[in-house]
Symmetry: C2
Subunit: 450 residues, 2 copies
Amino acid sequence: MELDLILQEVQTAAANNDWQSGMELLRPLPVPDLASILSELDADTALNFLRRYPAKEQSSIFGYINPAKQSALAELMSRSELTQLFTLMDHDERADLYNRLSEEERLSILPGLAHAEREDIRQLASYEEGTAGAIMTSAYISLSGQLTATEALQRIRQEAPDAETIYQIYIIDEQRHLIGTISLRDLLLAPPHQRLSQMMVTDVIHCRVNDPQSEAAHFIAHYDLISLPVVDEDNKLVGIITHDDALDVTQEESTDDQMRLGAVDGDPTVSLKEATIGTLYRMRVFWLVILVFGNIFSGAGIAYFEGLIESMVALVFFLPLLVDSGGNAGSQSATLMVRALATGEVRMRDWFLMLSKEVTVAFLLGISMAAAVSLLGLVRGGPELALVVAITMVLIVLVGSLIGMSLPFVLTRFKLDPASASAPLITSICDAAGVLIYFNVANIILDLAV
Amino acid sequence: MELDLILQEVQTAAANNDWQSGMELLRPLPVPDLASILSELDADTALNFLRRYPAKEQSSIFGYINPAKQSALAELMSRSELTQLFTLMDHDERADLYNRLSEEERLSILPGLAHAEREDIRQLASYEEGTAGAIMTSAYISLSGQLTATEALQRIRQEAPDAETIYQIYIIDEQRHLIGTISLRDLLLAPPHQRLSQMMVTDVIHCRVNDPQSEAAHFIAHYDLISLPVVDEDNKLVGIITHDDALDVTQEESTDDQMRLGAVDGDPTVSLKEATIGTLYRMRVFWLVILVFGNIFSGAGIAYFEGLIESMVALVFFLPLLVDSGGNAGSQSATLMVRALATGEVRMRDWFLMLSKEVTVAFLLGISMAAAVSLLGLVRGGPELALVVAITMVLIVLVGSLIGMSLPFVLTRFKLDPASASAPLITSICDAAGVLIYFNVANIILDLAV
């Protein structure tokens, strides 16, 4: 909240051309907070502030600014400014920025960069979005196993200013194959003349450039790593992914899952505040229209029972209640199952085990709810209706829960994301099932009663 | 997947009393994987394998075993084994284990521990669940600002074996107040005789023992920290939270949010596979019953329009379709808004800004869907019904979206978790609104048409 206040004061200062007061407000801020504020300012103002920092600091602030504003700033910068920024920025971030530049901007800065840097950018920028390669950095420390602990520490001191992390060191052979790793901690505790090859860990946990980011993040979380090395098809070390990137990926994945569960499509990093009407429309229209077709089945079911409804309109009163309860129970089951499948806690072969449990729980839930609503049925339409409502409720909660728990399994079976079993999708399917169950039960019981 | 195979083979080996083959399978595994396997074995078998590792390794494996199995193992261990385990375990993990022991077990091990360790356990075990204090560790490195870089490195080497991380060092005064921090990286690069007080960062990002864990995790993610220091009310350093714990918290929070959105209550760390029927029932019954009451309103709305329905039963065919579309649009809006509020991208004061955007998007979505379903109305009930269905669809998607986007704001306003605006809750509210809109529109149009 305090940042909001600072933002307002900075905006006022900038509006009054009082850059000095603005800088006094900004200077005490940690870099990520400073970048948050610059991200909210218009690009001209933000650039005016950014230019007042030394070049190296500029590049680290720039890395934290949001992607859209980064592009806007890059457009305003002179060619030499942009070239300098590219030289100093973190390798993974500059590759991302490069991917967002226009062809023209790219061509304008490449000649100003050293050959090695051009290659590095081209390399990192070439990996497909969503892969480990796309978030890795090439600024890691790799040493030969022939070095002694003391020599290694010396090399680390030299390379530290350019490396994203120095806390995990990777050992490579002459062809850059990843053959070992050692933590700085172990290195500090090692006998000074021992060679790295004698103390390194040789079974290095790693991933491949084309592995999905989520898998890389999972490795980092599961093995409590500071950084995860990334190798190419030939097992050559090409980059590392650091623990802070894993956190970002985890948060993005979580957003992505929630969007899917809520039947929203699209890029999880998109800003709701900045998204255009067109983007928002596209994120939502697909599922809404698909779900319409789902509901046409429910309508057809109702049409089939037209005669029954005409003979007892009171049946319609309970339609939303009964049908929704199935959808609700189904959403709950699906939510629990999607999570359990995502964390790997439950696997495909556990389906039958989970099924028997689900049946018991759903039956108990159905009974509880039937007890509550049958009373209402009694008041509204007499004992027959109460019986219809109670039996329907048990069956609907049971069927809804089974649909909810099975759909994520079925999707997984067909290599689809189980999180596509969104609440609205399950609701639609349960609705159609619910309509059929309700009117069939009503048909049987009311027929018997007549 | 491969771990599954190893698990099966280890189980077979154990069943044949062939512990040696079992160990051959387990020995090459990284500790977290080894612990996953031990977590799946029965406690006796797991303990039999665990005892074959050296004491220090036992304690680090034990830390990765799942909590329920940890408690089972602790029960089987002798007093001396348990005491040794407590001496060697990570400080934060042993405090958690201590909290899960029986009173009897606690009393049996405390006498065997050194005074300082007893105090450390009591201290760490005393913080409320969900607070920063409950996940912090006391195994950090804190030094006096008077030390030179060289002296500091020497001290770090001595303390490294017991510290959870040595990559961020905290500087304290004589009363243990947190006065600065320095990374091991900067320390390695510093002139050997410079004092820590001259090179430390003095504005240390920190949290307090009673701050929520989610906030601590957010700090670590936002500022890309390796560890976050935790201070008590007097600003004295009492612990640190490490980056890997932040990842765990983030994953837990994400599960928690998804469960809330799916209208499921309860502990996000509970294992779906191991949860009892009673636990699963309790996680679900509350919201299911609450939602029944919500649906009673829809039923009452329908009852009110009984006459209208009797005169045109075809209206009922479109009831699920129209009513659900509002709920679906509402779920989408709520999903987007809950995320935007959680990440802080959208704030309370943005409500009006978001509202105008939402109205436009919802209107466009409503028009698109009205076009699709009015054709169906034409076929099923003629031009009047088509008009009713089209107008209702636009209104329902509009109202549903507005409810979906506003509810998270309202909940935030009343200091409730916006994620409580679950899809089922929004569906229920939108259903009731939808019924009223539908039959009122039908009433007006069909009256005019007659």
